[in-house]
């Protein structure tokens, strides 16, 4: 069992409230996965900025003394990046955010070269990804979710089954620019699909089954699939139980396995699309009494774009 809560805001006047709304949703799915959690927020001022690539790195020390980390990391990266890259480093909760005005591939390369202990958990121009082990609401509080603005937010509370309880094994899995995937369920043939993807040259960070789903979607998108097509193809290749939510810079998608073992409920209004594992996570959203509320049908891919 895991919990999912996701929110796409259609009305920009709600952007300042994104974090507080997502926090109220997250609070209601804690029971479904109290061991670890993760967050992805899109277009959050202070965390990402237009024209700049941002990498989210797991943990707050990156293998160096904590007080010196921001200057230390910035100095190391400035040494290998162009002089006008404008490197910025900040620690948010248990996450280190690194920004620079270069492509994400170049920034990842620079981080890999200079910070061998770092694990990249998020990348792109629009998204910041934060994850950790512990009580989901404490993780949200440490990262200051309540005060975050943004256009989309995704949260996941994990009850680990397929692999260990670690920050790296928490969701979301963000393996391509601005792409995030969270999963309630388990893939039964992930080892097979992992081997197939490895043969295609895909590199994995963890032993987690959900990472296979994320890498598969990223691979399909890279080959030209739309988000909807990628998830239809995922249904043909990956076997198991799943409710998935996938977000990109401007889209959100929900799909359940054809047997619909795992729950999902969606609320849609003119102001937002919200998805959660259980209705109680949606109950506090503004205008919920007039929302269109429905359960996504088994095996059907739903997508919404900003």
């Amino acid at each position: 069992m895991c919990g999912i809560a996701a929110l796409q805001l259609r009305n920009p006047s709600l952007y300042p409230k994104m974090g507080s709304l997502l926090s109220s949703m997250l609070c209601q799915i804690v029971d479904r996965g109290p061991d670890s959690a993760g967050l992805a927020v899109y277009n959050t001022p202070g965390l990402v900025s237009p024209g700049t690539s941002t990498l989210s790195l797991l943990g707050r020390d990156q293998g160096m003394p904590t007080p010196a980390i921001t200057e230390g990391v910035a100095g190391l990266l400035a040494g290998v990046l162009p002089a006008d890259a404008g490197v910025s480093v900040q620690v948010v909760g248990d996450t280190t955010l690194v920004g620079a005005a270069v492509g994400t591939d170049l920034l990842v390369k620079a981080v890999t070269e200079t910070l061998p202990a770092a694990t990249v958990i998020g990348r792109g121009e629009h998204v910041a990804v934060m994850k950790s082990v512990g009580h989901p609401m404490e993780i949200a509080a440490e990262h200051g979710l309540e005060a975050m603005a943004g256009s989309q937010g995704l949260s996941h509370t994990r009850m680990a089954t397929e692999s260990a309880v670690t920050a790296g094994g928490s969701h979301p899995f963000s393996v391509a620019d601005d792409l995030c995937l969270v999963h309630n369920g388990s893939f039964s043939n992930h080892a097979t699909v992992r081997r197939d993807l490895k043969r295609e040259g895909v590199v994995f960070d963890s032993e987690n089954d959900t990472e296979v789903g994320a890498r598969y979607v990223a691979s399909r998108l890279q080959q030209g699939d739309t988000l909807e097509e990628a998830l239809v193809n995922l249904g043909k290749v990956l076997d198991g139980f799943y409710t998935l939510v996938v977000t990109t810079a401007d889209s959100m998608a929900v799909v359940r396995d054809p047997i619909a073992c795992k729950p999902a409920i969606i609320a849609e209004t003119e102001d937002y699309v919200a998805m959660a594992s259980e209705y109680r996570a949606l109950a506090a959203l503004p205008g919920i009494d007039n929302a269109r509320i429905f359960e996504p049908e088994p095996g059907k891919v739903y997508t919404w774009s900003l």
């Binding site: 619909a260 259980e278 209705y279 109680r280 996570a281 109950a283 509320i293 429905f294 359960e295 088994p298």
Partner: protein, 242 residues
């Protein structure tokens, strides 16, 4: 208004006072359920701000009337024994699970496994029901105003399931007995579930069930499905199939 104590419980005749109101924005679910377990016949309750909370009004064993104003979470009115529970909204997974008798109604949609393993009573869902509606039903009557999801009435043993909309895949898979009536289309029938003739006695019981659910559908518009009874006994011809 928050009332957690049961209304007057010494009155010998049915209580006619206004319903006790429990506002779940402030009061805990456990308190509500304890008060309902302590209730006596004739009392009525209104539950406000349910907020999708789980296990509302479960295990009621007195002839009480409970109205939930809003959406209920998982297992609402589970193990229902007596009385009437109405959810003016949607209900989550496992509505009226293992209902024994009495009546449960949802004015919106119900999620998966509504009335699962129900032994008796009546469950009315005015909207749609999700997958596995009436799974392993053992005598309960279910009337769904809209559609039902896949694997509904799986291993159904007794009771009646009435669907005024469409049914999803594998309806009545591995059904023992129970009678299923569907007005709309059936995506597919499960193993050993077949269409059967709609005779006079079936039209009569269907009319009764529809009336009990407050519906005006014409019984003649429905088709009946039930067990082909081919899975009751082991066939030696199938010995190599396992």
């Amino acid at each position: 208004m928050v009332t957690l104590t049961a209304p007057e419980t010494t009155a010998p005749e049915p209580v006619t006072d206004a319903p006790a109101v429990v506002d779940l924005a402030d009061a805990p679910v456990r308190g509500l359920n304890q008060a309902l377990h302590d209730a006596v016949d004739g009392q009525s309750w209104t539950v406000t701000n349910p907020g999708g909370k789980h296990s509302l009004a479960v295990g009621i064993n007195a002839d009480v009337v409970v109205t939930i104003e809003g959406h209920a979470g998982y297992y609402a009115a589970g193990m229902h024994q007596k009385g009437t529970v109405t959810v003016n909204g949607n209900a989550g997974v496992g509505l009226a699970e293992n209902i024994m008798s009495g009546r449960v109604r949802v004015t919106g949609d119900a999620s998966q496994s509504a009335a699962a393993t129900g032994h008796g009573g009546l469950v009315v869902i005015d909207g749609n029901a999700g997958a596995r509606c009436g799974i392993s039903m053992k005598g309960v009557d279910i009337v769904v105003g809209g559609n039902i999801g896949h694997m509904s009435a799986f291993m159904a043993q007794a009771g009646r399931l009435v669907v005024c909309g469409d049914a999803g895949d594998a309806l009545g898979d591995s059904i023992y007995e129970a009678r299923i009536y569907v007005k709309g289309t059936v995506a597919s029938l499960g193993a050993d579930c077949i269409e059967k003739p709609l005779r006079e006695e079936h039209l009569a019981e269907l009319a009764e069930l529809l009336a009990a659910a407050g519906r005006t559908d014409n019984p003649a518009d429905f088709k009946r499905y039930g067990s082909a009874r081919n899975l009751y006994h082991f066939h030696v011809d199938n010995s190599t199939a396992y």
